[in-house]
């Protein structure tokens, strides 16, 4: 069964790009089930769509990515979270990994980097 992916980023063009990259033949085990603009919308969609995997931006309005990761892990303990953010200093990375993220990809990224990091993060 294909894993269900939720994309969370306040940038529409970035969400669309991530969704397009998920069409890569190496990621056929994933299916995009939703896109959210911030943490609050992500939690709503997580309740209804029950994603297995989430790509998570950090700097977002309403509820930021770090806060959302904690809430997501409480809601869906088995969810795997890949953080995709321009904030890639060590402290930020450690902070989000401690909250339950499984991987970290720095923006800006090349398409192949997203594919490879995704495969590593979710053990496809």
């Amino acid at each position: 069964m294909r894993q269900r992916l939720l994309i969370v980023d306040d940038s529409m063009t970035t969400r669309n790009r991530i969704a397009r990259v998920m069409d890569d033949p190496r990621l056929t085990g994933l299916r995009v089930v939703g896109q959210a603009r911030d943490g609050a919308e992500a939690l709503q969609l997580a309740r209804s769509q029950q994603p297995d995997v989430v790509t998570m931006d950090l700097t977002m309005p309403t509820m930021d990515g770090a806060e959302c990761i904690s809430a997501l892990v409480s809601l869906l303990p088995d969810v795997r979270i890949l953080v995709i953010s321009a904030l890639s200093d060590k402290l930020t990375a450690i902070r989000v990994l401690k909250r339950g993220a499984h991987g970290f990809l720095q923006k800006p990224f090349e398409d192949h980097q997203l594919v490879e990091t995704m495969i590593e993060a979710i053990h496809l």
Binding site: M12, T13, N16, R17, S85, S88, K107, F109, E110
Partner: protein
């Protein structure tokens, strides 16, 4: 890059400005696989307005430094980036979103370079040329023209240590 820091902005080191040109350069290279070329920087005179293009993304700094950093680009440049990344939405909203995402790269780079104690606002987006950006007294903004794929945008760095 031929960057000469004048005595009026002596508190700002060459490297402090270069981190932002690297942020823009890395964005274009990784997103489109085409490098951007940064040309010689110049200082904006006090009487001159910011050379804003069709779309501008701005971050505001506070804490250890204060001021703004922005990237401004013509519609045609952003349109080309949207096409190269496979984006089918070519609306004003998509152009604004893209310039905001480019400005957002400054935040990550600034956080890594300047460390803690620096507050960085989410990107503010401007459309059109008729905007007045507040100036820091006695400080001259650096303008760094940038060429990508034959189109010209500008990075503007207007910041100083916060006393």
């Amino acid at each position: 890059m031929n960057l000469r820091l004048s005595s009026v902005n002596a508190e700002l080191k060459r490297r402090d400005v270069e981190v932002f040109t690297e942020a823009v350069g890395t964005y274009f290279e990784r997103t489109t696989r085409k490098k951007a070329t940064v040309r010689s920087a110049y200082l904006l005179e006090s009487r001159d307005a910011f050379p804003l293009s069709d779309f501008t993304g701005t971050i505001t700094l506070s804490g250890r430094f204060r001021g703004i950093v922005c990237f401004t680009a013509p519609r045609v440049l952003l349109h080309h980036v949207l096409m190269m990344t496979g984006e089918s939405d070519h609306s004003d909203l998509a152009h604004c979103d893209l310039i905001g995402e480019i400005a957002n790269q400054f935040a990550g780079q600034a956080r890594r370079h300047f460390g803690g104690g620096l507050e960085i606002s989410p990107p503010a987006l401007l459309m059109g040329h008729a905007h007045v950006i507040p100036r820091l007294a006695g400080n001259y903004p650096f303008v760094l023209p940038l060429t990508w794929h034959g189109y010209e945008g500008s990075l503007i760095v207007h910041m100083e240590p916060n006393p």
